[in-house]
């Protein structure tokens, strides 16, 4: 009974944390689409002026080569942290861990869950 109660509590905490984090899709719209595009294809409104083109998040092959940990790291600490472009900024002061996890989840949907 105690185990059940603990599991239920943990599940509630987890659900609350996710709800507070908001959906990855919403966060992607707010923070990422300017460069990565409304469709996630790397063709955002800023892209035309950029020396290095933003990653196409719909590219299954490219994105599959990145682990979730790498994606988390690059969102939190920026492109420089994985020897990529400084044009990818560090979002660690704007997004908490739950929000970054939600974003990583959305990236996986964009790249790898095509119909």
């Amino acid at each position: 009974m105690k185990t059940l109660l603990l599991a239920a509590t943990l599940s509630l905490v987890s659900t609350t944390a996710l709800a507070e984090a908001g959906s990855g899709k919403q966060l992607y719209s707010i923070y990422c689409t300017q460069c990565h595009g409304v469709a996630g294809d790397g063709k955002g409104i800023n892209a035309a002026q950029m020396a290095v083109q933003p990653r196409d998040h719909t590219d299954t092959k490219e994105m599959s080569a990145r682990t979730d940990e790498e994606l988390f790291k690059v969102i939190e600490h920026g492109g420089k942290s994985i020897n990529k472009s400084v044009l990818m900024p560090p979002w660690g002061d704007n997004l908490n861990d739950d929000e970054i996890h939600a974003l990583v989840g959305h990236l996986r949907e964009l790249c790898c869950q095509k119909n």
Binding site: E20, G22, Q26, L27, S29, I30, Y31, T33, Q34, C35, G37, V38, A39, K43, G44, I45, N46, A47, A48, Q49, M50, A51, G78, K80, S85, V86, L87, M88, P89, P90, W91, G92, D93, N94, E99
Partner: protein, 236 residues
């Protein structure tokens, strides 16, 4: 309803009512109430948005003005309010104004609202009022930035290649990203201490800002501010 009111007073009230239809901001005694009424539907005038969920960012129609007195230069506000030109080419929330095209996303300019222009008297009153909104005096007081100089080439490389600011901001017309406000007139419109304080810690001003924090230390931030000074002072 007007039966008990003398004819003369009724006439006076009638004229006043007619005049009130196109009431310029300046005729109101209480500028604070006018600003709230005229500007409050698009601009936040208090810091309540900071307590809301992050997604409130998507609902904004205009930048918050609750700390305008810590942010802007009064003379710039006075001038801009009379001749408002767009500073954010993609609006205050760019995703709301981006649309896909064959060549990549473009800004849907038809969705961008124009800021109304005020006459000189109105602009003066509004600018004076906005300059009283200074909730972040402590952040400004803690700032150590002293305006200095930087070579054009070094400043430009720092802004672009080294820090990546040009991903979102323009440092010259048509040069740089469009999701952030253009920065070639930033020096004219913003207080130097605000520039430095905001680059250092944007979320301290606006917790839902779309401005990231780089790995810049104080010296690097001051270098960026000096570049904004350099390019801003070259603007007409």
């Amino acid at each position: 309803m007007t039966k008990g009111i003398p004819v003369k007073l009724r006439l006076t009230l009638g004229i006043a009512a007619v005049l009130a239809v196109g009431v310029p901001l300046a005729v109101h005694a209480d500028t604070a109430a006018d600003v709230k009424q005229q500007c409050g539907s698009c601009h936040a005038l208090d810091h309540d948005y900071a307590k809301a969920a992050k997604h409130e960012r998507a609902e904004r129609k205009a930048p918050p003005l609750d700390y305008a007195g810590n942010k802007f230069r009064r003379e710039w506000l006075y001038s801009w309010l009379q001749n408002p030109v767009r500073l954010r080419l993609a609006g205050v929330f760019p995703p709301a104004h981006a649309k896909a095209s064959a060549d990549g996303d473009v800004v849907d300019t038809a969705t961008l609202a124009k800021h109304p222009a005020l006459d000189a008297a109105q602009a003066g009153k509004v600018a004076d009022y906005l300059m009283t909104l200074t909730p972040f005096d402590a952040l400004i007081a803690a700032e150590t930035y002293q305006p200095g100089s930087i070579a054009q080439r070094m400043g430009q490389m720092n802004f672009g290649k080294f820090k990546g600011c040009d991903g979102c901001h323009q440092d010259a017309p048509d040069k740089g990203g469009v999701s952030g406000p253009e920065l070639y007139t930033a020096w004219q419109r913003l207080q130097p201490a605000f520039i430095s304080a905001y680059i250092t810690q944007p979320a301290a001003w606006d917790p839902h800002t779309m401005m990231p924090v780089g790995d810049a230390n104080a010296a690097a931030v001051h270098k960026l501010a000096n570049y904004l000074k350099l390019i801003g002072e070259k603007q007409p």
